[in-house]
């Protein structure tokens, strides 16, 4: 027997090790419980080193990006380069501090706006398995983290805590194939289950065919899953197809649109209202106001200029009808007539004294005949046919034939009865 065991010692040990692990596996699967102590050992051994590596990586990346890439630009001056390099290193340090402060500030603002109590955490590693979407964060049980807590960012939900350890926690991202959360659509209030697929997009499942979900619609957590409080953004609907037995809906998670470095873990969730309008994802750039125009406006036709100067009048660039209306209005004002107030049968203004001007200001029927622009009339009360104001020259006298043609076209029967 002894010689038999010696001869097959290696294969015997192999079978024992495999058998032990099979038993371990069976116990976990059958009881649906974890053998926590082994995980605690491993995570405790790995997370401190991972944290150090993350700190070194952050510093190195900042240094490389901000120093070495700009190093060549300073090659022209050796003396100044040393000085600039020294200042840059200082700048990098300060910039890193600023970035950290900005991120922390953004999270603080979000925390202050949200009723839920949250704990900030930094992502320090990802899963050791290539298929799953799990990350390690540096907040653990001492910070009050427990399994099942929701993880969010100001942009949306990120995932949930799978396991909490003394030195860190495992977070299952919403893109993980085993992730699921209850959501509700913002516009139509359709409920469904958001599931990860192992890809950057998620799937909205269990939405009946008769329900209406639109592309671009925002999804929020419904609170039904008892993990995510109601009202946190979950994603944007990207694709909607009819399939059997439910609709096939693909969702782009808003919380994972950017690289996640810092997250918030909800330790005490408070349900919120679903917003009536989706949040603006990107700020809109507003250009500064243009400077005051110092140039004098281009000379305008006499009638139009008079109309433009009057309050509420249309500018010179209006339509032909606007220009014509301005001409008649100026004539009416010159004769102390207010349009819209005269009774039927009262005396209308004398439209035979229309101002002279180019085509734009001329009455209908005369628009194709170009006329030289007269001096701008600055006072709307000044009669167009009266004496010109000081500093201006008198318009050329119109021939009688032209005036008669204008009268026939512009002030013909039916056109002069404007009250």
């Amino acid at each position: 027997m002894e010689s038999f065991l010696n001869r097959y010692r290696n294969i015997t040990v192999l079978l024992l090790v495999i058998f032990a692990q099979l038993v371990l596996l069976a116990v976990q699967v059958k009881n649906d419980q974890d053998v926590r102590i082994i995980r605690v050992w491993t995570v405790t051994a790995v997370t401190p080193v991972a944290r150090v590596i993350e700190a070194v990586r952050g510093s190195t990346v900042g240094f490389v990006r901000n120093y070495f890439m700009l190093h060549d630009a300073d090659a022209e001056n050796r003396r100044l380069r040393e000085e600039v390099g020294r200042l840059k290193i200082q700048n990098i340090f300060l910039q890193n501090q600023l970035n950290t402060a900005d991120r922390a500030k953004a999270l603080q603002v979000f925390q202050s706006k949200t009723a839920s109590k949250m704990v900030a955490a930094t992502v320090i590693g990802s899963s050791a398995s290539t298929g799953s979407k799990i990350v390690l964060v540096d907040a653990g049980t001492p910070a009050g983290i427990q399994r099942g807590m929701a993880v969010v960012t100001p942009d949306g939900i990120v995932g949930k805590v799978l396991a909490a350890y003394p030195t860190g926690s495992e977070v299952q991202l919403i893109t993980d194939p085993e992730f699921a959360a209850g959501v509700i659509s913002q516009k139509n209030g359709v409920r469904g289950t958001l599931k990860g697929q192992g890809t950057p997009t998620c799937k909205l499942d269990y939405v009946p065919l008769e329900e209406k979900v639109e592309v671009g619609e925002m999804l929020y957590t419904s609170g039904d899953d008892r993990i995510f409080p109601r009202g946190f953004p979950a994603g944007v609907v990207k694709v909607v197809r009819n399939a059997q037995p439910f609709k096939e809906i693909l969702v782009e998670p808003t919380g994972l649109q950017h690289e996640i470095d810092d997250v918030l873990i909800i330790v005490e969730g408070v349900h919120q209202q679903i917003p009536l309008v989706p949040p603006a994802n990107q700020p809109v750039y507003m250009a500064p106001q243009p400077p005051a125009d110092q140039k004098a406006p281009a000379p305008a036709p006499a009638g139009v200029a008079a109309a433009g100067a009057s309050p509420g009048a249309n500018p010179a660039g209006g339509t032909e009808a606007d220009k014509l209306r301005s001409v008649y209005k100026s004539v009416g004002e010159a004769q102390n007539h207010t349009f819209g107030e005269g009774l039927p049968g009262s005396k209308p203004p004398d439209f035979t004294k229309l101002p002279t001007g180019p085509a734009g200001a001329a009455p209908p029927g005369n628009t194709t005949v170009p006329k030289p622009a007269g001096p701008p009339a600055t006072n709307p009360a000044t009669p167009p046919t009266g004496a010109p104001p000081a500093g201006t020259t008198a318009p050329p006298k119109q021939p009688d034939t032209q005036r008669k043609a204008n009268q026939a076209a512009g002030a013909g029967p039916g056109q002069g009865q404007i009250n």
Binding site: R9, N10, V17, A26, V46, A50, I124, S127, Q172
Partner: protein, 176 residues
């Protein structure tokens, strides 16, 4: 028939000519685990690498000791299970068998040969993936797709990276 005279076979003297320093045995597996959890976060193109597997294959080949191979395979596998939230034992069983078989090959062949290392790593990766797929189906009831072509490609890429990695790790061995 004397097989030890072939170019790919190893002599008894060569088998025990070198060994690893103690810190290497601790640091390299830890580094492999840290690589697996840290680097793909920022460089997704290296997400195909199974660094713990490469380390298990290398140490098993170099030790030429089946018990040592299965031990490091089991430890690395369980550690990977712990960090991936798989049930403990999935990667453990997988890598235990890989370590044992790699060590069995190392006993008989000249594992310093680059081509042989390439082939061994390639087949180890395929075996690892297939076994994981079978166990996921049979033991956990998971519905995973059988991605044969993808595994072949990833196996080749892992093998190429593995040979380069082994060349670096060879320098950490010391003669005795």
């Amino acid at each position: 028939m004397d097989y030890s005279s072939g170019p790919l076979l190893v002599s008894q003297r060569e088998r025990q000519s070198k060994k690893f320093r103690a810190w290497v045995l601790f640091a390299i597996p830890l580094a492999a685990l840290l690589f697996q959890i840290s680097v793909p976060r920022f460089f997704q193109f290296v997400g195909f690498l199974d660094m713990p597997l490469l380390v298990v294959v290398y140490f098993s080949l170099m030790w030429r000791n089946q018990l040592g191979g299965l031990a490091i395979g089991a430890l690395m596998g369980l550690a990977q299970d712990s960090l991936s939230h798989d049930p403990l034992g999935m990667f453990g069983i997988d890598k235990t068998l890989v370590g044992y078989f790699a060590a069995s090959v190392g006993v008989r062949l000249d594992v310093d040969n680059a081509v042989l290392r390439l082939l061994l790593t390639f087949f180890s990766y395929l075996f690892h993936q297939c076994l994981y797929w079978v166990m996921s189906h049979a033991l956990l009831g998971r519905q995973m797709a059988f991605e044969g072509q993808r595994w072949l490609l990833l196996g080749l890429m892992n093998a190429v990276v593995g040979v380069s990695l082994y060349h670096f790790l060879d320098k950490l061995r010391e003669s005795v």
